[in-house]
Symmetry: C2
Subunit: 127 residues, 2 copies
């Protein structure tokens, strides 16, 4: 985006920024992706997630699940049994999101070393 002119192209790219940011907000947060990932291979129960995701607190699990459900990425199903049973299932939209995340993962894997080197160079140069 040329910041010098004020034509439409700047607007377009600004909207692009916003769109990306909205995705990132949705997916950011320490646990969202982990939860989504854990639910990809079929319905998962609350306690399964709690045990399976390393380091997550009960609170954050609940909160993140609520947000994912709210955004329509997860479906919450309650079985009125005793003891209660609740299952979380990823929606089709979430699967598509996951597919999109793959290219990002691929980028990260390709450039992990480059970044590590860049950091090391930067850090040792400045000190």
């Amino acid at each position: 985006m040329s910041l010098r002119n004020t034509d439409v192209s700047a607007e377009v790219e600004h909207e692009a920024t916003c769109t990306v940011l909205q995705v990132l907000e949705r997916v950011s947060g320490k646990w969202s992706i982990g939860i989504l990932l854990a639910a990809m291979n079929g319905p998962v129960r609350f306690t399964e997630l709690e045990r399976g995701i390393n380091g997550i607190s009960r609170r954050m699990l609940t909160l993140t699940l609520r947000n994912l459900e709210r955004d329509g990425l997860l479906t919450r199903t309650v079985y009125p049994t005793v003891p209660p049973k609740v299952e979380y299932t990823v929606t089709e939209m979430a699967r598509e999101l996951y597919d999109s995340l793959r290219s990002l993962t691929a980028w990260a894997e390709r450039n992990l070393d480059t970044i590590a080197t860049a950091r090391h160079t930067y850090d040792t140069a400045k000190r």
Copy 2:
């Protein structure tokens, strides 16, 4: 990922999570993407960014630029003139990252309405 078993597939997916998270950490932060985007069409100067990116503070601009430079996503070039002139240029790695972000943007654009509806439904149902 089946959280019940402890086979390799769980490990693979856990690593996938970590890789994605590393990307997100790099790109998260309120301003990183905006700055990257603004620098995509050629070298950009500090003040250009400050004026072009809506709402960014001088401090956050500096900090974000430093981090992007440190990770090798941006190159900082100083021209020892007076007044000083500094140009920031995206690296090839950053361009590839941007390309990867496109599929994410595409996903967001496809599902923006769906998400908005989901939220509204969720919010009105719970209240």
